[in-house]
């Protein structure tokens, strides 16, 4: 019966239906374009806003000391706005986190994609990804109330709020990103690539190290960079666990000293800073430096991602 009515429908649309269809199409398209445009524009406006607020600092004549001095005394008289120690502080905790997170994440990804039975992988991977969903303030509480006293009691450091503490916790936060993206890249490298390697007489270790991991290299690298961005952009944890001492560690390898990062400075001081003062604009200038670094990392990651996508594909076509 229903089928019969369907056949009875005239094939030609009435002008009314025609019009309605055209309007729906237009409205739908406009709406989608508007939504897409909003996303793009908000990124653009954030960038413009930060540049606009940072500009007075760059024209204030104190910009020279920004990168040459480590003295940050924004409320003193005369004020000093050197951010060198903070840039280094961000680098210290980020590099420290990467030194721990990259081997851990990469090994976990290889293990999940090539070694563990598929059923277990289906359980373990979501659990690792769940780590990324824990709010950073919760990590911060752990770092300050549990981990810092533990470091003091067991390693004998003077203060548990230091580079080591921050790096380890940041590594835990960056690992899910690295594992998730690397594992995707390794899986995407394909079964044929692995079977090809075995056919040439390679052992599983040789196949992994010399064929699969290089083939997925781009994807793994972009995962690492995304994890790095998570670490460098992290604010709450470093504000709580780094100690916020605005110093350059001396000697340079002493990672039990406190440092202060760019993000922590912005978060800690922005709320109370009087608007339109040099201090206020200086904080935006730090924000701009941070934005430039993450933007650079993001571009690198994008470039590597496209390269990574191409590689296994070409390999497959050749096979």
């Amino acid at each position: 019966m229903a089928a019969a009515t369907d056949f009875d429908r005239p094939l030609l649309l009435t002008p009314g239906q025609d019009m309605l269809g055209w309007i729906t199409l237009r409205v739908g398209l406009t709406l989608l374009q508007f939504v897409a445009l909003t996303c793009v524009l908000s990124v653009l406006f954030i960038f413009i806003f930060i540049v606009k607020e940072a500009l007075p600092f760059f024209t204030s004549g104190q910009v020279g000391e920004m990168f040459s001095s480590a003295e940050w005394y924004p409320t003193s008289d005369p004020a000093a706005f050197g951010v060198w120690a903070m840039i280094l502080g961000s680098v210290y905790v980020t590099v420290g986190a990467m030194v721990i997170a990259v081997p851990l994440g990469l090994l976990a990804a290889v293990f999940l994609s090539d070694i563990v039975p598929f059923g277990i992988r289906q359980v373990v991977k979501p659990v690792i990804e769940l780590l990324a969903a824990i709010p950073s303030v919760a990590y911060g509480f752990f770092a300050v109330l549990v981990f810092a006293p533990w470091l003091q009691d067991n390693l004998g450091v003077d203060s548990g709020k230091n580079i080591l503490n921050c790096s380890i916790i940041l590594a835990v936060m960056a690992v899910p990103t690295i594992v998730s993206i690397s594992e995707d890249a390794l899986s995407a490298a394909g079964r044929d690539l692995r079977e090809g390697a075995y056919a040439l007489g390679a052992t599983r270790a040789e196949a992994l190290c010399m064929v699969v991991i290089p083939a997925a290299g781009g994807g793994i690298l972009s995962g690492v960079i995304l994890g790095m961005m998570r670490a460098i952009g992290e604010t709450m944890l470093v504000w709580m666990a780094s100690g916020n001492a605005n110093q350059i560690p001396h000697p340079w390898y002493d990672i039990t000293q406190s440092v202060r990062t760019m993000t922590a400075t912005i978060a800690g001081e922005m709320g109370e800073t009087a608007k339109n003062t040099t201090h206020y604009h200086a904080l935006f200038a730090i924000g701009l430096v941070l934005l430039a670094i993450t933007f650079g990392l993001n571009l690198t990651s994008e470039a590597l991602m496209t390269r990574g996508r191409g590689r296994p594909g070409t390999a497959r076509r050749k096979a």
């Binding site: 810092a148 003077d158 100690g243 001492a245 800690g268």
Partner: protein
């Protein structure tokens, strides 16, 4: 006839508008100034909202200097200040026909705290300064154990920092190795869990988990702070233009610290009521 009627209606309308404007005016009270006094003013506002539901009180926390400028320009009804007015500000005020009257509403005392196991219990102001400038780096220089001092400060934008910097640091900069924490409870938690740490917090946050040090021989307490004997303490002010009209909202605000509720608020914000007998 119609014309006079129109005039009458118009007059009545204008009269009503003036009456409305006149009635609306005292219903907004503007407070501007210190970020230290700001939290007290905010808490007052909460209470006054319930007591006088049709009064709007606004609190701007822009710093004591801005508060003084605002009362001089009659831009606010009450200037919150964590310091007394400077001579120049006073002169500017009088020149503009404003007569600043100070109401000391609370005392702000900052305690220097260490871990309870630390044998050091007395510091001179100068020694405290030397710890924060990095001249003294080990507790043994102060008669304690051979242990590095972990120096903890509040963030530079907090009122507690402002007080400590003014009364202890004497224009000297804190060393680069000084750690910064965002709140009184965080400073407390850091000292509680770090054997070699020293920090400074408001009196209201001192408990048995940390040890407050005597400064220049005076133990910080409500009594010594209220009496002004403890060196790291200062009065907090609200300034008005002339003594406020008795019974007005402004009058109620600047005398609220004399009521039990007002004292509770000052206590809860970590300050010391001036009415400590």
């Amino acid at each position: 006839m119609t014309r006079s009627k129109q005039v009458l209606i118009l007059t009545a309308l204008v009269g009503m508008m003036v009456a409305v404007a006149g009635a609306a005016d005292p219903k907004t009270v503007k407070m501007e100034g210190s970020t230290t006094v700001g939290p007290i003013a905010d808490a007052y506002t909460e209470v006054f909202k319930r007591m006088y539901p049709n009064v709007t009180i606004t609190v701007n926390k822009t710093g004591s200097g801005n508060g003084a400028a605002a009362i001089v320009d009659s831009r606010c009804d009450i200037a919150n200040m964590s310091r007394f007015m400077k001579i120049q500000e006073f002169k500017d005020a009088v020149a503009k026909g404003v007569m600043p009257v100070a109401h000391a509403i609370a005392m702000d005392g900052v305690c220097v705290i260490v871990h309870p196991s630390n044998p050091v219990s007395v510091l001179k102001t100068e020694q405290a300064r030397n710890i924060y400038t990095g001249k003294i780096t080990n507790w043994k220089e102060l008669g304690g154990a051979d242990r590095k001092i972990v120096v903890v400060s509040r963030d530079t934008s907090s009122g507690t920092y402002e007080t400590f910097e003014k009364l202890v640091m004497a224009k000297q900069k804190m060393a680069a190795g000084v750690q910064y924490v965002a709140s009184n409870p965080e400073a407390h938690a850091t000292v509680k869990s770090t054997v070699g740490a020293v920090a400074y917090i408001g009196l209201g946050f001192v408990d048995k988990d940390v040890k407050a040090l005597k400064i220049d021989g005076v133990m910080p307490s409500r009594k010594t702070i209220a009496k002004g004997e403890y060196p790291v303490s200062r009065p907090l002010f609200m300034f008005t233009n002339g003594y406020p009209k008795l019974g007005s909202i402004v009058h109620a605000l600047v005398t609220f610290h004399l009521t039990p509720k007002g004292q509770d608020i000052i206590d809860a914000k970590g300050f010391v009521p001036v009415t400590d007998y």
